[in-house]
Symmetry: C2
Subunit: 424 residues, 2 copies
């Protein structure tokens, strides 16, 4: 009962058409070291011989995985002398106790030694099954191989090596000029399941040659995440391992950005947000079993927070998501989700419109619900919109100026198959 | 990819073995009046020639359906002179504006006239598709037929007539003695989808011949719901139509219960809670696509509310629910859900145990997680427990005395099939 992937547009099944841009001073690589049983790539490294300033955002799950604990401490104590990040897939190193902590630390140390970098200079990320210890002997042989493969154009294989149930590797790049100096950003990400705001289950690494002070870099990352990774939802689960890491090595040579305002900061933030949004939206299109990409726009709320809450209620409703899967214009389920979002709404003021594609595609809107009742729209017009693989749903609460956009997918047989059978 | 129902224990596919008990003074009936296209039963009536006191609990959804608005007003203005409730399936009469309100009112009036009861004496409930007006001409012919069929043993057909995607009709009865007088309670319910605490998408009607003051009846209903209907979750959606109605006609003849304390009240509350729990648990077993019945016991929380929040996070996690479906002892997902429940937890103090069956079955427990790490349990023992159709999961947060029990089901291909194709 899985929809064959062949039915899906390329953006749901294939990596971006344009390759990731190399970033001066950064190398990347991926190898298969045997953590995944099938021999797929499962270990990635991103490294910069020039020390970087680092910023990071982590899961708020109360059971943070061992690598998250390692990285939080590293960010606190040595965020300005970072040389890279090593990432494994196939094992989350979560719920693994003191042994898991020690293993995360050893994974970083082995990488620091193989890179000939100083102590406390390498971040660690893990993704995969929870409650299983890392096979350290595989890492012991894999890490030196990984360092030997490092090269400026190794991004695609690094992106492939961090995948779990992802269908395709995800990357995004952007360029800008700061004070006449060209600056590049390139990021990779993995997603698939356990995807929900407040750091969805996902890992992302973005690097740049921009020169920027650490606190400013951290602020830029938080702002960018608020409009990208924290605005997506695949299944409402917030994982133990979510991490977004941003490294900046300053090689672009422009005067360093030392405050979170002004044109240079804004230009950098825009480029970073663009990369983060591209990665976040790719994570949704590649969400476990996802066959529809839905842009939820909520406006007219009392404030932005309430708008976000309404969008999340819609994005996490299994009934709404299965209706999207079925291509069923069952908008009553959307209105119902608005009704239990727990924010102020007035049925008679609420309007619901839908259209094909993403908002920027400029397709005409069809109004379905208004004045507390269906609008008398033509059923076949609604059906044609819901048959598309990209749909935009706009809810206007008619009360204030609060607004939020959330990107989400459908809930399909593919999701159930993947997650009913993932581990065993 | 649907599991054939044949694999499921009888409690997942068949109505209770013992028939519902008649309650003195109450009649019930169900007919097919043509709201459902397939000719199934779709209109039910429960009536008492003797006026009843009524109590009711309604959805907190901000888009309450027209019958909910009607019933709320009726409960406020005439709760001590009620003669019955008419219920249709196949159309929710929700998001139907002023016309929907008028239709709900007419449905009640026609029933009041056919029963020869006074004005403002009949409740109305509707369940089915949202955003479609009731076919009033079908009700005009159906209601007189329904009244003609009323009889003391009509409960099974009434229970069948309120079903939507339910696999089987649900009823429960209990008896008790109050001051030496035998008292009976009988209830029917429908569930299936949109099931979540705070009045899940469900309708239930319970009647009794107990003699009890209206405010006391209301308090008993709220207390019973807090330990039954508000403790179940199928898919986390709270519907526009949820209603639990309790009618008491006083024919048992004992001195009326006029305060919410003392042995008579307690005995009544216990019997009511038992009926409500039986109905609520049947709703879970018959949840859309449900193949597993899971009892979630959370204890050691800082307070009962936090315990409930943790249980709900587990009960609504798609990853946990698909693991249950797959019979996969992937307990890491349960721990992960505990971690994002938003309450105080300490990984090193959290313990997770599982066992077959329901708690009262007394099966031995298997501890899976403790001291922040897996316990070293035998994988095949865990697999055997998760292979059962009834599982009890106990999470001890090790912090306080707060506790909560929630009943939930799995997330299966059957759920996706039903809800991807329900309307079109």
């Amino acid at each position: 009962m899985d929809r064959p992937s062949l039915d899906l547009p390329a953006a749901f099944t294939q990596p971006p058409a344009s390759p990731p841009l190399p970033v001066p001073g950064f190398d990347a690589a991926g190898v298969a070291c045997g953590i995944k049983p099938g021999g797929q790539l499962d270990l990635a490294l991103i490294a910069s011989p020039v020390p970087c300033v680092a910023a990071a955002v982590f899961t708020r799950n109360a059971f943070p995985a061992a690598p998250v604990l390692h990285d939080r401490a590293l960010l606190r104590f040595n965020a300005e002398r970072i040389h890279g990040v090593v990432v494994n897939s196939g094992c989350a190193n979560a719920c693994t106790g003191t042994q898991g902590r020690a293993n995360a630390r050893r994974m970083a140390e082995w990488t620091e030694q193989a890179l000939d970098a100083g102590e406390h200079t390498v971040f660690v990320m893990s993704t995969g099954v929870i409650g299983v210890q890392l096979p350290m002997e595989r890492l012991a042989t894999g890490i030196p191989q990984l360092v030997a493969r490092l090269r400026p154009d190794g991004w695609q294989e690094a992106a492939a090596a961090i995948m779990t149930t992802d269908r395709f590797p995800k990357w995004a790049s952007a360029t800008l000029e700061i004070h006449g100096h060209p600056v590049t950003l390139t990021g990779i990400a993995k997603g698939a399941g356990m995807i929900h705001p407040d750091m969805a289950t996902m890992l992302a690494v973005v690097v740049t040659d921009a020169a920027i002070a650490q606190p400013v870099l951290q602020q830029a990352l938080v702002q960018a995440c608020d409009h990208s990774f924290n605005r997506i939802s695949v299944d409402g689960d917030t994982s133990t391992n979510d991490t977004v890491l941003l490294l900046a090595n300053g090689l672009a040579g422009h005067p360093a950005i030392d405050q979170a305002q002004g044109p240079a900061y804004t230009a950098f933030l825009d480029a970073l947000t663009q990369v983060a949004q591209e990665l976040a939206k790719a994570i949704v299109r590649n969400g476990e079993g996802v066959t529809r990409f839905v842009t939820l726009q909520v406006e007219g709320a009392m404030d932005d927070h309430q708008a976000h809450q309404v969008a999340n209620a819609i994005a996490t409703s299994p009934l709404v998501k299965t209706a999207f899967y079925g291509g069923d214009p069952n908008w009553g389920r959307i209105v119902c989700a608005v009704g239990y979002a727990g924010v102020q709404v007035v049925p008679e003021r609420t309007r619901l419109t839908v259209r094909r594609g993403e908002p920027q595609d400029g397709q005409p809107e069809l109004e379905l619900f208004r004045d507390g009742t269906p609008t008398g729209y033509a059923e076949e017009e609604a059906a044609a919109i819901f048959a598309d693989h990209r749909i935009t749903v706009r809810v206007d609460l008619g009360l204030g100026t609060g607004r939020a956009t959330v990107w989400t997918g459908d809930l399909s047989h593919g999701y159930v198959t993947l997650n009913g059978e993932y581990r065993t």
